[in-house]
């Protein structure tokens, strides 16, 4: 396998009498590639991500190959309230230097000063940064982001975009970002996928050079294309 992630013929259905959530889906992600996965609610985005993360079993007849180590950032930070921030970041790590490594990761997300507090005292953005540090610490070959910015306020979200891009450029994991937000997708990703009826209905490269301006007209074109695929048509058109 040369790619970071390879999915073949993945079908999942939750009820026999309903159409499958994922229908013979194929997907390849190259090492270091930043891919955004869009789709309407219930289109199977999260199901796909859960399968990639190993949380759901791979159904018979399908092949799912995810390069390890893989790490996930969920929509909620999911920090353990009974462990300090650095202990959360180091969860499952072990080893004598786990604290140093956790604190180094926290420094990267700008949270070094909060290393010894309880997660209950963090703001939403800080908690999500800690979750990002926890994922980063595993030096993942594949980073799965499950709508990690959805629960944040608009300003915090913009800062988190910059932080994620920054970290991605430094560590270059293959990244799959599941999102509802078309703007977020076109600014962050190199490749844009739309999931529809259980398959990849649209697979667009994003040629726009980095660093990207949110107002870049090339992004506006992509945005219109993606929205049209998602069933939202521009009024001007």
């Amino acid at each position: 396998m040369s790619g970071a992630t390879q999915v073949r013929n993945l079908t999942r259905r939750f009820a026999a009498d309903r159409p499958p959530v994922l229908d013979r889906l194929d997907l390849d992600i190259a090492p270091g590639e930043f891919v955004a996965l869009l789709g309407a609610s219930g289109s199977g985005k999260t199901t796909l991500l859960r399968t990639l993360a190993g949380l759901d079993p791979v159904p018979e007849g399908a092949a799912v190959d995810v390069q390890l180590p893989a790490a996930v950032v969920f929509q909620q930070p999911l920090l353990l309230p009974w462990k300090t921030v650095w202990q959360n970041v180091a969860l499952g790590l072990g080893g004598p230097d786990q604290r140093e490594r956790a604190e180094a990761a926290l420094r990267e997300v700008g949270l070094a000063h909060r290393s010894t507090v309880w997660p209950g005292t963090l703001s939403g953005g800080e908690a999500q940064r800690a979750a990002l540090a926890r994922a980063l610490l595993r030096a993942p070959a594949v980073l799965l982001l499950d709508e990690p910015f959805a629960a944040l306020d608009a300003l915090t979200r913009l800062r988190m975009h910059d932080l994620v891009l920054d970290l991605w450029e430094r560590h270059r994991p293959a990244t799959l970002l599941v999102t509802h937000d078309v703007d977020e997708a076109v600014v962050l990703a190199d490749r844009l996928l739309v999931l529809e009826h259980g398959r990849i209905a649209l697979d667009l490269p994003n040629p726009s050079a980095r660093p990207r301006e949110r107002s870049d007209p090339a992004l506006a074109g992509l945005r219109v294309q993606l929205l049209a695929q998602l069933g939202v048509h521009s009024r001007a058109a």
Binding site: Q76, G92, R134
Partner: protein
């Protein structure tokens, strides 16, 4: 728990802004009515309105308590009662914890354990005293057994609910980050169930004192309950009240210890962090 402790404080601050009613006056004001009751009680006794056969006076209770303490009777009886509570509580809480862990951590365990425990729970366990006497005689064993039986249920019920109440998303997160099933239990399930377990433990403690009171009526020859029933035979209301006071004091002390333990072990709780 935290809400009940916050509510009166909030009510006081609305009624009595700290500007014109300093904080230190509040505890004094709260003590005023119990003190008044004590004074009235003593006055009624001293004036002969209250017969010592009905209720001994506060000063007399103090004096008798002091005499009993000096003679060593008090200490001995307290130690015997404490010993029964400690033994029964240790056995009961261990069994309750073990059963809750088995039932909480596996479906099979739940099927096997939970139904019979829930059925037994509906039985008022104090009603088992006659059976316990038949089975275990009238020595120390039925007394300790009664405390053990009573204390097993609260810890079982709360710990079981606590284990099942842990956010499954946290467990999923643990698996994603490479924790084994054991690691998930150790780092996520058990700490997550700890607050409920401590609530259960506090219930167990109060049940322990309750069972002790009943158990010590079974032909005891030492212990606070024995002291009380012995005093009843001689119409000594002062000694009876000393015994009741001891029960109350012991209960309060142990509860304070557990709450201190709670503050230490649950230091991460947001309500405690901000306090």
């Amino acid at each position: 728990m935290s809400q009940t402790s916050i509510a009166p404080r909030g009510a006081v601050s609305v009624l009595a802004p700290p500007l014109w009613r300093p904080e230190w006056r509040l505890p004094l004001r709260r003590l005023a009515s119990p003190l008044a009751v004590l004074v009235l009680w003593q006055a009624a006794s001293s004036l002969g309105l209250l017969s010592p056969r009905v209720l001994a006076s506060p000063l007399q209770i103090l004096a008798v308590g002091w005499t009993l303490a000096l003679s060593g009777d008090l200490g001995h009886n307290v130690l015997v009662s404490l010993g029964r509570v400690a033994a029964g509580l240790t056995i009961g809480v261990s069994i309750g914890t073990l059963l809750a862990l088995i039932a909480g951590l596996s479906r099979l365990g739940e099927d096997i354990i939970d139904a019979p425990v829930q059925m037994l729970r509906t039985l008022p366990f104090l009603a088992l005293v006659p059976l316990f006497i038949l089975w275990l005689g009238i020595g120390e064993t039925p007394k300790v057994a009664l405390v053990a039986l009573g204390t097993a249920f609260p810890i079982y019920i709360n710990l079981f609910a606590g284990i099942r109440g842990v956010d499954p998303k946290l467990a999923e997160m643990g698996r994603v980050f490479g924790l084994s099933r054991r690691g998930v239990i150790r780092h996520i399930v058990l700490p997550g169930a700890l607050p409920s377990a401590l609530v259960g433990f506090r219930y167990s403690l109060s049940v322990a004192w309750l069972s002790l009171v009943v158990a010590e009526q079974i032909n005891a020859n030492a212990g606070i309950g024995y002291m009380i029933s012995d005093a009843r035979d001689f119409l000594r209301t002062d000694v009876i009240l000393v015994g009741l006071l001891l029960y109350a004091l012991l209960g309060l002390t142990v509860d304070a210890l557990v709450r201190a333990l709670e503050r230490r072990m649950l230091a991460w709780k947001p309500s405690l962090v901000r306090a």
